[in-house]
Amino acid sequence: MISAEKIPNNVGLSSNKRLQRALEHWQPAYIQWWKEMGPQGFQDYHQVYVRTAVSVDPSGWAHFEYVKLPEYRWGIFLADPVHDRRIGFGDFMGQPVWHEVPGEFRNQLRRLIVTQGDTEPASVEQQRWLGQRCPSLYDLRNLFQVNVEEGRHLWAMVYLLHSYFGRDGRDEAEELLARQSGNRDKPRILDAFNEPIDNWLDFFMFTMFTDRDGKSQLLSLSESSLDPLARTTRFMLTEEAHHMFVGETGVARILERTCQLMKQSGFSEDVRSVGGIDLPTIQKFVNLWFSLSLDLHGNEISTNAASYFANRRQVGRSQRHGGDVRARGGA
């Protein structure tokens, strides 16, 4: 039974029959997915507390509580409505924002939401083995915080699909759980989310660069003419900032350590022999994730740069993926 108690929300779930019906099917599938594809080996781990949003105040700030990982409750939150919000730009500038999806833009909006939604569980899947090799409990906590919040962002997108896109929306919501990062048969939509993240340098680079792109995408979606999308993403932004913090401080810590080791060894660049990560290696990771993340902005194939760097790092690795195909060039 779906209840507001199990699913913290500010979208009136208890009185929304349509949403309840949709979630009754989807929520068990999500839990199943989290168990199979979420952090491996930590499903019953009680040593880490994560933050969970329980409500949101009128100025858009969330209220949080701390729960153990297995007790995390994924919720649905929208930022509060802005009175008399108007469309900010484009052909409809100045007109009232949309509270329903206009038929004319149904496909485009659905594609935007599905593409955004697809990235959220993808990153959880990419990172599911990292807990086994975490450098510290601090990092483990950050990792899981990022993971549960990506999961919640999936909920946010699924809420929109369930509420505004009818049967197609419910089908797409199921597909979001069916695709899997790096799965040859059912890959995630965007390339950056099919790349393996099997070490912590990848993870920090991902949260440094790819989540930066994520923030940029969310910021633009938060200006959407479709008001529920704008309000959903505005709330998500409050969480995304922490992800970038994890990345930025993570990369900074590694750089600091590398510099320390270089100093200690008389400014030698060879810090591998003393257990560090040398600068050329760090640079290659930067090159890969920076260009993969840039590709996320495009609407054409443009993974050339990423392939180049990735091939230098590990021949053939990114050739498994042909590129981000998000636009059509033909009739």
Binding site: D185, A327, G329, G330, A331
Partner: protein, 553 residues
């Protein structure tokens, strides 16, 4: 853009060969040939657009047509052709939108006509040559890409949660899937019209199980099984073919016409152009000497065998006229040669029509004549002494919009029929040209074919095989006035009138594609809602959305 899309006088060659392909790769494995699309972005006919995502322009389609043709003639062992793509997660995105946007109206129309003919040639090979086509859709298959797939006998789509078949022309571009898409969905694949209606209005298309349920594809398989399933299916299809496994093909060598300002000169076909009058004279030479006595002789002659050589040259000449000579509105058709040699040639063709090579040659003659039927120029046949309007070449006279036969008691001037006029060279309406001519009285077809001929002008008039038979005193004026009068009429009205008159009789999928689908498409191609300043085709890919005039016509 100019040379390649028709804003200046274009100069396109339709000849190519596999070692010159830029966009396709051919691979042969026993009875299975794989034709893989791998479009080079920067190798379009014009530098003004890039052929991204396996989108195509005329140059890409010329290579595809060549590949299909060569498989038929050069590789008799091939029984199944797999059409697929070498680009990961993309099969084909369809005709290049930026090419379409930058093209003249005439270029768009001729581009679509040619690509339609290429797809129909695929279906012709399936129906008449025993070559089955399998579309292995390894990724996005949109618009013209899906239309290419629809021309194949079977469609297998990868089930990766992302790849879909789609016809996004209407929702994205405000035009039609005009390369047979709409027609084939309901007529060939027999998709229910309400489902087709839905499918035709959603840009993202249909994927997975639903694509199979709706009959849009025949099967879907996950990526890990895809290649193996395609290979299995290709082999199963090959087992059903009657193509020989031990025959050697014949090589199709370059035609190498000499092309001057006002002359296209081939070995058996000659075009002379009078630019002031906007008239071309197309002359085809008949076969010389005794008929061949054995098929081995034909195989030895290869592409120099008259029937193949003459019709390859005719085909190339028609294509060049269409694309490169838009101002030449009237084509006078002449023939010359020995009618008895022509009739002997026809008798030989018919006697060996079941041999794989002669089957290919006859079917190619048929397709070339169809190409003439579909060429939007006025054709007048002039039947003069020394001409060779007999049997296969007589088809040129009844394919023409009118024929004039000189009736001069001093000079022998005849026409003749053969079995080739009685069945092998059917038009796109499924009838022979004689049957189409005598819709009102099918007995006349039988009577004409039963008559051994030759027919002199009076007999030809009586048998209704020609239009007019002016005598030697009237001939020059009659012919001159007819041609000059024709050239003065509105070219648009003539194109439309000819297309309406040439295809009397029943509808087929083929006549629907040209007579309905592409006719509507050509209408849309000049409407402001598509190509106006704020039309959908103009607006696509720009920052602005289209603005429609919502009045229904």
């Amino acid at each position: 853009m100019e040379a390649a899309t028709g804003t200046a006088k274009p100069n396109v060659s339709f000849e190519t060969s596999p070692e010159k392909y830029r966009h396709w790769k051919l691979a042969f494995d026993g009875p299975v040939a794989t034709v893989s699309m791998d479009v080079q972005e920067d190798a379009g006919l014009s530098p003004d657009y890039r052929l991204k995502l396996n989108s195509y322009d005329l140059g890409v389609d010329i290579e595809l047509a060549d590949a299909i043709q060569r498989i038929r003639f050069e590789h008799p062992e091939v029984r199944t052709v797999v059409i697929t793509s070498l680009k990961e997660r993309i099969f084909c995105a369809g005709a290049n939108i930026f090419m379409l946007r930058g093209s003249t109206h005439a270029w768009k129309v001729n581009f679509c006509k040619y690509t339609n003919e290429t797809r129909l040639a695929i279906e012709d090979a399936s129906e008449h040559s025993g070559i089955k086509f399998l579309a292995a859709l390894n990724g996005i298959c949109a618009g013209g890409g899906y239309e290419l797939a629809l021309a194949c006998d079977e469609l297998i789509l990868v089930d990766d949660g992302n790849s879909a078949v789609s016809l996004p022309e209407t929702p994205l571009l405000g035009v039609l899937p005009g390369t047979g898409g709409l027609t084939r969905v309901v007529d060939k694949r027999k998709v229910r019209r309400d489902l087709a209606d839905f499918f035709g209005t959603i840009a993202e298309g249909i994927k997975g199980k639903r694509a199979v349920e709706w009959r849009l594809v025949d099967a879907v398989y996950p990526t890990s099984q895809f290649r193996q399933r395609v290979a299995d299916r290709a082999k199963a299809l090959a087992d059903r073919s009657d193509r020989p496994s031990d025959a050697a093909g014949i090589r199709l060598n370059p035609l190498n016409p000499s092309i001057d300002e006002n002359r296209y000169k081939y070995s058996l076909v000659d075009i002379e152009i009078d630019r002031d009058k906007r008239v071309a004279t197309l002359t085809v030479s008949g076969p010389i000497g005794d008929a061949p006595v054995s098929v081995d002789q034909i195989i030895a002659a290869g592409d120099q065998f008259w029937a193949l050589r003459a019709f390859r040259e005719l085909d190339d000449a028609l294509l060049r006229l269409r694309i490169n000579e838009p101002l030449i509105g009237t084509v006078v058709i002449k023939t010359r040669g020995d009618q008895r040699a022509m009739l002997a040639m026809d008798a030989f063709l018919i006697a060996h029509a079941q041999h794989w090579l002669l089957r290919e040659i006859i079917n190619f003659m048929k397709r070339t004549l169809k190409r003439l039927d579909l060429t939007s120029r006025s054709f007048f046949a002039l039947i003069e002494p020394g001409s060779c309007f007999a049997g296969s070449l007589f088809e040129l006279a009844i394919a023409a919009d009118r024929s004039y036969m000189l009736d001069d008691p001093e000079q022998e001037n005849t026409i003749a029929l053969s079995g080739m006029n009685g069945g092998p060279l059917k038009m796109s309406n499924g009838l022979t040209r004689l049957e189409t001519r005598f819709l009102a009285d099918p007995q006349k077809v039988k009577a004409a074919l039963a008559d051994d001929g030759p027919f002199d002008p009076q007999e030809a008039m009586a048998a209704e095989l020609i239009s007019f038979a002016p005598d030697e005193l009237d001939w020059d004026d009659e012919v001159r006035l007819a041609i000059e009068g024709r050239a003065a009429l509105s070219p648009d009205a003539l194109t439309a009138m000819e297309a309406n008159l040439r295809f009397a009789g029943p509808e087929t999928m083929e006549t629907k594609i040209f007579g309905r689908l592409t006719a509507w498409q050509n209408w849309i191609f000049i409407r402001p809602n598509a190509v106006g300043e704020k039309g959908a085709l103009t607006a696509y890919g720009s920052q602005s959305r289209p603005e429609f005039d919502y009045n229904r016509t």
